[in-house]
Amino acid sequence: MLNIKELLDKVKASPYREIVVCAPHTGVVEFAGLKVGDKVSGRRGDFMEKPGTLLANLTREKNTKTITAPEKGEIESVRTELEGQFVEAGEPLVTIKHFLTRKEVIELILQEALYLFRAPERAKYYFVPEVDQKLKVSGKRSVKVSEGMELMIVSRMKRETPLSYSGPEGIIYSVYFGRGDNVDEGEPLIGICPEDQLTVIQDVVARIQSEWEEEV
C-alpha cells in the first residue's frame, strides 16, 4: 500500500524538476548571457512555432546552431567557465529549474501509485477487440484486468501476436499510448490501479487539481 500523502508532501517540499541542458554535439560554446535566476520559456505559440529562450550557441565547422530552453523555468546554473571553449557532446551546459505544472504532478504521483504495465518490445500496441470496445463504450475505468488475461495485440513487422497481462489485479486507470504509435521497449502502456485504491487516487488527483498553484 502506497502512502500517497507522503508522496504529495515530498513533491510539495520540492516542487521543481531540474532539467540539465547538454551539448547535443561537439562544438565551441557561447552562452547567451543568461544569469542565475533569469526566467526562460519553452516553445510557445499555437503551433509551438516560436522557439524557447536562447540559452547558448554551439559552433561546429563554422555552423552555428542555437540551443534553446526546452521548458519554462528559472536558470539554476550556467557553466560560464566553458564560454568560448570546445565541448564534447553530452557536456552539461545549463541547468534549468522547472516548476512542476499541475499535469506533471498528477503524472508523477500516478506513476508512483499505479502499477505500470510496460511494453516488452518496440512495437505498435492495440487492445484486443473486446477490451477496445468496452473502453470505447464505458470508459477506461470500466475494464478490470487480472493476471494472465489476454489484453493486447502486439503488431510488429506485419505480424500480430497476443500479449497477456501480468501483474496485480486492478482496473485500467490510464492509457499511455496512442493508436498506431510505436512504443519503445520499457515504456509504460497502461497504468493499473487496485480496485480498493481507486477512490484514494481519484481523491489525490482532485486535490492536486484544486490545490496546486500553477506558476504563470
Binding site: 505559440g45 499555437d46 561546429r60 565547422e61 563554422k62 555552423n63 546552431k65
Partner: protein, 754 residues
C-alpha cells in the same frame, strides 16, 4: 416633439464632427460645442417660439462651421470619414439612387458572403411622354454599419466569386454593371477558391467583360477594391480614398513595427498624406475619371440632394460609356459628351449593345488602362533607340500578321488537309500491301535477320553501363553557382528536427546540390542569377527595355534613397528583367521579378516592363514565361501608381492569352499579395519551386487584420497545391527540363510557335 428631434440631430452632427477630427483642437469645434451646450442648458426655460428660433440659428451655424471645416480636411480625416458608422453605405444608395431593386443571393446573414451585396436594380425615367425602365446589375461591398456578419466590407474569396458570377449574368443579359467599392481590403483567407486567386480571376474576367462597367469608389482598399473596380468609367466620391494600403499599414511598415506595436498618430497622418489617396490626387494621376462632390464633411444617409447627384452621375457615366461605342452616333452622343449633368436624366439611350459595340467597348477599356501610369516611371531609352524599337516592333507586328494570320491560316488549313490525306493513304496502303508482305516473308524467310535483331536488343538491355558513354556521370556542372559556395563551412537544414538531415557542407549544397538538401529535399533560397543562367541561358539571350527605371512618383519621403540603394546593390533599374531566350529549341519571352530589388515589389516601371514583354510575346508568337523569384506585393511607396499595375498587367496577359499565347508562371521563394492576386494568379498554368511560399497576405498581415494565428506552414507550396492555387511543384534541379516539357505539352492549339 419636432424640436427634440432637431436638437438630437444637432447632437449627432457635433459628435460626428468630433469623431472626424479626432483629438485635433479647432476653434470651430469648440464654438459649436459651447453653443450647443449653452442651448441645452437654456432649453427648459425658453418659451417654444424662441427655442425654435435658437435651434434654427444654431443649425445655420453648424452649416457654416461644417463648410469651413471641410476646407481643412487632411487625408487622414477623410479616411476617418469613410470609416465612420454614419457614412452612407451601399444599402442607402440602393434605396435612394435606384427606383427599385431586388437583392440577389443574400438576405441578411443568410448569404454566401454578406459583405458582398448583389442587386438587380432599375432606373425609372420619364423621357418625353414615355416612362422607361433601365436595368442594371449592382455589385458592391456592403459595410453594413454595426452588422458584424458583414465583416466591415472585407470580402471573403467566395464573396468575390459571387460578384464574378453575377457579372457574367449581366454579360449574358446585356445590361450594364454598376460596382460600388466600399472595402478596406479583402479578407486574407486562403481556403478555396483562394483570396488571391479569386481576385485574379475577377480581374481576368473583367478585363474582357462584355458589358459596360461603371464603378464608384468610396473606400478603395487595395486588392478588395480591384476585385470589382476594373471599369470603363471610374467615379470617386470626393471624401473617399483609394489606396494601396491603409495608412496604418503603411505606418507599420515605415516604422518597422512588429508584434502588435501601434504606430503613432503623427506617423499615420504623414503616411496618409504621402500615399496620395484622396479623390483629387487620384484624378490628377488619371486613375479615376470624375469626382462627385459630397456635402461638407462627407455624405450621410440624410443627404438626399447628394443621392440625386449620384443618380445623375451614374446615368451620365453609363450613357457616356455606351454612346462612345454605339455604331450609330446621333445628336444624343454630342449631348452626352457636353456633360451637362442636369440633362443626364433627359437623355435616353438604350444600354443594350450590339456584338460589335461590345467588342469596341472591351477594346476601349483595355486601351484606357494601357495608357495609365506613364508619369510614374522613368524611361532612359534615348530618342534614337526608341525610334528603332518602335520601328522594329511595327515590322514585327506586320511580319507576325503576314506569317501567322494571313499566310499562317492558309498554311494550317493546308497542313491539316495533307495530314488527313496522308493518314488515309497510309491506311489504304497498309490494307493492300500487308497481305503481300506476309506472303513474301513466308516464301523468302527472314529468320536470320530476326535473330540478329533479337541479339542486338538483348545486348542493349543486359550490358553493364559504360561510363565513357556518359550514362554514369554523376553530379552536374551548373553554368552558374552561387558565390555562397565559396565559403568553407557547414549549415543545418531547417527540417533537421523532423527529418534528421545531416549537416551540409556549403560548397556542396550551393554548388552541386543547387541549394537542395539531399536528405529531405528542402530548397534553400537561391539567387535569381542561378535561374537566369542555368534555366534561361541569360548569357545568350536578348534583354529588352533595360532602361525603364523605377522612380519615386509621389515624392515619398526617403524613398529615393532607398531606391538608389537597391539599384546600386543589384545593378538593376527595376525589379523586373525581361528578355527573349531559347529553352531547348523553344523560343520564349521571359519576365523575371527578382526579390533583391525592394522585395521584388511591383511598381509602375515593373508593370510597364511586364506589359511590354507580354505584348512582345504576342507579336512574336512566342510563349510567355513569368519567373517570380520573389515578390512582396505592390510597392506601397508608389501608392495607386502601384495598385493600378494589377488591372493593367492582367489586361495585357488577357490580351495575350486571348490572342492564343501560352502563359506560364513559376514561383520561387516567397510570392505574396497584389501580383499573385492579379497578373500571376490568373495564369492557367502556375508552378512553384519546392519549399516556396505563396499567398495573398503574409502571416503578419493576417494576424493583424483577422486576429487569427496561422500555422507556420500555411503558405507552403504544398498547401497551395492542395488548395488548388498552383498546379504543380517542381524540383529546382529539374526546372529547365520541366519547363521545356510544359512548353511542349501545354501549348496545344493555343501556341503559335509550334
Amino acid at each position: 416633439m419636432d424640436i427634440d428631434r432637431k436638437i438630437q440631430d444637432l447632437k449627432d452632427r457635433l459628435s460626428y464632427v468630433c469623431d472626424i477630427f479626432g483629438d485635433k483642437e479647432d476653434d470651430n469645434i469648440r464654438l459649436l460645442t459651447a453653443k450647443l451646450q449653452d442651448l441645452l442648458d437654456k432649453e427648459q426655460n425658453l418659451p417654444g417660439s424662441v427655442l425654435v428660433e435658437e435651434v434654427g440659428r444654431l443649425d445655420e451655424l453648424f452649416d457654416f462651421c461644417e463648410r469651413k471645416l471641410d476646407t481643412v480636411l487632411t487625408p487622414m480625416d477623410k479616411v476617418r470619414i469613410v470609416r465612420h458608422p454614419q457614412r452612407i453605405c451601399l444599402k442607402d444608395i440602393l434605396e435612394n439612387v435606384y427606383d427599385n431593386y431586388t437583392e440577389i443571393g443574400g438576405r441578411g446573414e443568410f448569404n454566401i458572403d454578406p459583405s458582398m451585396l448583389i442587386a438587380r436594380a432599375y432606373f425609372t425615367r420619364r423621357v418625353g411622354d414615355k416612362v422607361i425602365n433601365q436595368m442594371v446589375m449592382v455589385i458592391g461591398q456592403e459595410k453594413g454599419h454595426g452588422e458584424a456578419f458583414r465583416n466591415g466590407g472585407s470580402v471573403k474569396p467566395w464573396g468575390n466569386a459571387k460578384a464574378l458570377h453575377y457579372m457574367k449574368v449581366a454579360e449574358t443579359e446585356n445590361i450594364p454593371v454598376h460596382t460600388f467599392v466600399f472595402t478596406p481590403g479583402a479578407y486574407p483567407i486562403e481556403d478555396w477558391p483562394g483570396a488571391a486567386q479569386q481576385i485574379a480571376r475577377n480581374l481576368y474576367e473583367m478585363a474582357a467583360l462584355r458589358a459596360p462597367v461603371i464603378s464608384v469608389f468610396s473606400e478603395g482598399g487595395s486588392g478588395g477594391a480591384e476585385a470589382v473596380g476594373l471599369a470603363d468609367r471610374r467615379i470617386m466620391l470626393s471624401h473617399g480614398y483609394y489606396s494601396v494600403i491603409s495608412p496604418e499599414g503603411a505606418a507599420a511598415i515605415e516604422g518597422g513595427l512588429r508584434g502588435g506595436d501601434r504606430a503613432t498618430p503623427e506617423l499615420i497622418e504623414k503616411c496618409a498624406k504621402q500615399l496620395c489617396i484622396t479623390a483629387d490626387d487620384n484624378l490628377q494621376n488619371g486613375y479615376i475619371d470624375k469626382i462627385i462632390q459630397e456635402p461638407p464633411l462627407g455624405a450621410r444617409p440624410n443627404h438626399y440632394e447628394f443621392f440625386r447627384e449620384l443618380r445623375r452621375e451614374l446615368i451620365q457615366a453609363t450613357n457616356e460609356a455606351v454612346s462612345e461605342v454605339k455604331s450609330m452616333k446621333l445628336y444624343r452622343a454630342m449631348a452626352v459628351r457636353a456633360r451637362r449633368s442636369d440633362d443626364a436624366e433627359a437623355i435616353f439611350m438604350r444600354w443594350t449593345l450590339s456584338r460589335s459595340a461590345l467588342s469596341r467597348l472591351v477594346e476601349l477599356r483595355q486601351r484606357k488602362f494601357r495608357a495609365m501610369s506613364r508619369h510614374a516611371r522613368l524611361d532612359g531609352t534615348g530618342i534614337f533607340k526608341r525610334m528603332v524599337a518602335s520601328t522594329k516592333s511595327s515590322v514585327e507586328a506586320v511580319h507576325s500578321y503576314l506569317r501567322y494570320d494571313l499566310l499562317g491560316k492558309q498554311k494550317r488549313r493546308l497542313d491539316v488537309m495533307v495530314e488527313e490525306l496522308g493518314a488515309e493513304a497510309h491506311l489504304v496502303r497498309q490494307k493492300l500491301l500487308m497481305p503481300l508482305k506476309r506472303t513474301l516473308d513466308k516464301t523468302m524467310g527472314s529468320e536470320t535477320m530476326e535473330a540478329k535483331k533479337g541479339e542486338e536488343v538483348r545486348e542493349m538491355l543486359t550490358r553493364l553501363s559504360c561510363p565513357e558513354d556518359g550514362a554514369c556521370l554523376v553530379g552536374s556542372e551548373w553554368a552558374w553557382t552561387s558565390p555562397r559556395s565559396q565559403e568553407d563551412r557547414t549549415i543545418s537544414c531547417p527540417n533537421v528536427r523532423t527529418h534528421h538531415c545531416p549537416d551540409l557542407w556549403v560548397p556542396d549544397l550551393f554548388g552541386d546540390f543547387a541549394g537542395v538538401c539531399p536528405s529531405c529535399g528542402h530548397h534553400f533560397p537561391m539567387e535569381y542569377k542561378w535561374y537566369l543562367e542555368n534555366v534561361f541561358d541569360y548569357g545568350e539571350s536578348k534583354e529588352f527595355n533595360r532602361e525603364l527605371e523605377s522612380m519615386n512618383p509621389l515624392n515619398y519621403e526617403q524613398f529615393e534613397l532607398k531606391l538608389d540603394k537597391a539599384k546600386e546593390k543589384t545593378g538593376l533599374k527595376s525589379a523586373c528583367i525581361t528578355f527573349e531566350t531559347v529553352i531547348e529549341d523553344v523560343e520564349a519571352v521571359v519576365a523575371v521579378l527578382c526579390a533583391p530589388f525592394r522585395g521584388g515589389s511591383v511598381g509602375a516601371a515593373e508593370g510597364e516592363k511586364f506589359i511590354r514583354a507580354a505584348e512582345r510575346a504576342g507579336r512574336k508568337r512566342q510563349p510567355f514565361i513569368a519567373y517570380v523569384h520573389g515578390t512582396a506585393g505592390i510597392r506601397i511607396q508608389e501608392g495607386v501608381n502601384g495598385v493600378i499595375q494589377m488591372p493593367r498587367c492582367t489586361i495585357a496577359v488577357r490580351r495575350y492569352i486571348d490572342a492564343g499565347g501560352l502563359y506560364l508562371v513559376l514561383y520561387d521563394t516567397n510570392s505574396y499579395a497584389g501580383p499573385v492576386a492579379s497578373f500571376l494568379g490568373c495564369s492557367p498554368y502556375q508552378f512553384a519551386v519546392q519549399s516556396s511560399n505563396i499567398g495573398f497576405a503574409g502571416p503578419g498581415v493576417i494576424a493583424e487584420t483577422t486576429g487569427m494565428a496561422i500555422a507556420p506552414d500555411y503558405h507552403r507550396a504544398y498547401h497551395a497545391l492542395s488548395r488548388g492555387h498552383i498546379h504543380g511543384i517542381w524540383d529546382r534541379r529539374e526546372v529547365k527540363k520541366n519547363l521545356h516539357q510544359s512548353l511542349l505539352t501545354m501549348g496545344g492549339r493555343n501556341l503559335y510557335y509550334r
